[in-house]
């Protein structure tokens, strides 16, 4: 439904897909995982690459059909790095995650990712988007080839619009672990590679294709 709303504009852009596997690690075991990842990934000789991002999710609801279906909306995610002030903001659109059949090893969802200037929030607000929720993620980043691994903690903002450490409240007692590749559609080899990589993290973390429809 979301995709349908965006379809005409998407047609002109090479469709990128995000292949995704997700899991989580308890905070107490995070360091074990980080060291394991450091050994497995490409940037082994460097120190852990930390990141700290703020993400705000904007929603545009279709007012005319709001009564009949809640699903008629478009979501954009705006993210910027808190620890790198010179890095640009990013706006991201994510499609509905497809589970696929058994032969497919990962979730696949449409993914549009564009760097933009910092006034994108104002722009979205002007267009009628409203902020739905926001959060801060802090964690570490690894890569192996084109696979990206992020291990991060999600923080709720206690007061809106303030991202200083006192205003953050961690969500749960685990770090979220994501293994993702952004690539054009139809590259089945990626799923295979990702599955093999995920196998190597067992039993520390179970990276699976998590059915997003189960979320209520």
């Amino acid at each position: 439904m979301e995709a349908a709303a965006l379809a005409p504009s998407l047609k002109n852009i090479a469709p990128q897909q995000e292949y995704l596997l997700q899991g989580s690690i308890l905070d107490t075991h995070r360091d074990v995982l980080l060291h394991r990842l450091r050994g497995l990934c490409d940037n082994a000789e460097r120190n852990f690459e930390a990141f700290s991002d703020y993400e705000a999710v904007y929603v545009l609801r279709n007012s005319s059909t709001a009564q009949q279906s809640q699903n008629q909306h478009v979501t954009f995610r705006v993210r910027h790095a808190l620890d790198h002030s010179d890095a640009p903001d990013h706006i991201r659109y994510l499609g509905q995650a497809e589970l696929g059949d058994r032969s497919r090893h990962t979730l696949v969802r449409a993914c549009l990712d564009v760097a933009c200037s910092s006034n994108v929030r104002d722009f979205l607000t002007e267009m009628g988007f409203r902020i739905d929720h926001d959060y801060v993620v802090k964690g570490h980043f690894f890569h192996k080839g084109r696979m990206k691994v992020t291990v991060y903690k999600i923080f709720r903002l206690i007061q809106p619009n303030k991202t200083d450490p006192h205003n953050l409240e961690p969500l749960g007692q685990s770090h979220l672990v994501e293994l993702s590749v952004v690539a054009p559609l139809g590259q089945e080899q990626i799923g295979e590679d990702m599955k093999n990589f995920a196998e190597q993290l067992k039993p520390l973390v179970l990276l699976e294709k998590f059915d997003h429809r189960k979320i209520q």
């Binding site: 075991h29 929720h133 961690p170 007692q173 979220l176």
Partner: protein
Amino acid sequence: MQPPQTNEEKQLDLALDDLIQRVRELKQGVSSFIYKLENDYQNISWPNMMEHFGVLSSGLSSIKRLLKTEKMPLLRNYVLFPILLSPDRDPHLEKLTEGRVSAFNHEVVPDYLRTKPEPEVEEKVQMLSSKAASITPEVAQKQLTMLNKITSNILDIINASSDDWDKDSASLRNALPPTTSQQETAMLIAAVTKGVRLRRQDSQGQMSPAPQMGSMPTQQHQQQPLPQKPQMPGSGIGRVPSAVKTNIKAAVTSHPYQRP
């Protein structure tokens, strides 16, 4: 065919059915082993091989057990008696024997009803019996009790250590603490994808602005003790739950209507 079946015959029939089934299983075991050996021997592994042998040996012992049960009549006391020899092909027979015997004729029957064991086996039995004849029954009896004692001893030892082994491996498996939690995964993914538990109640814009304005200062007021634990997100992993708790309380008390 013969309506008046005696009890004995009935029992024999049942026993035969059982026996046939067991034999069929054993036969399948052997043939699948041969198939594996001939067609897939590159991939055969040692545990695999042992597994096949295990299947065969359990098949054999189950047949043996069956023969010893009380329900099984003493087959020794039955002779097989061919009543009809016919040179004609019998499709029913053929089907019954999976194509091995297509006619029950004079050529097949002697082979099938052979009672003499294989020459190799016969030789072995001969050797053993000659040896057995050379020792006196008393000595044999003594040796027998000895052997029984030794074997039962060994069996005990083996059982005991295998129990230990099982226990060890079981405890080892349990020793690994869980490093991941399905519920946490679900919760975090829900938060990241759908904003569950991240969405602000007052940010929807549906609420009237008045309580919003009112709640802001009170919230700030409630949060004043917060700076006392500034390193909370970084280091205090163990204290996370308590932080959540206090926060919920803060949110509750910040509600304007609860204030006296």
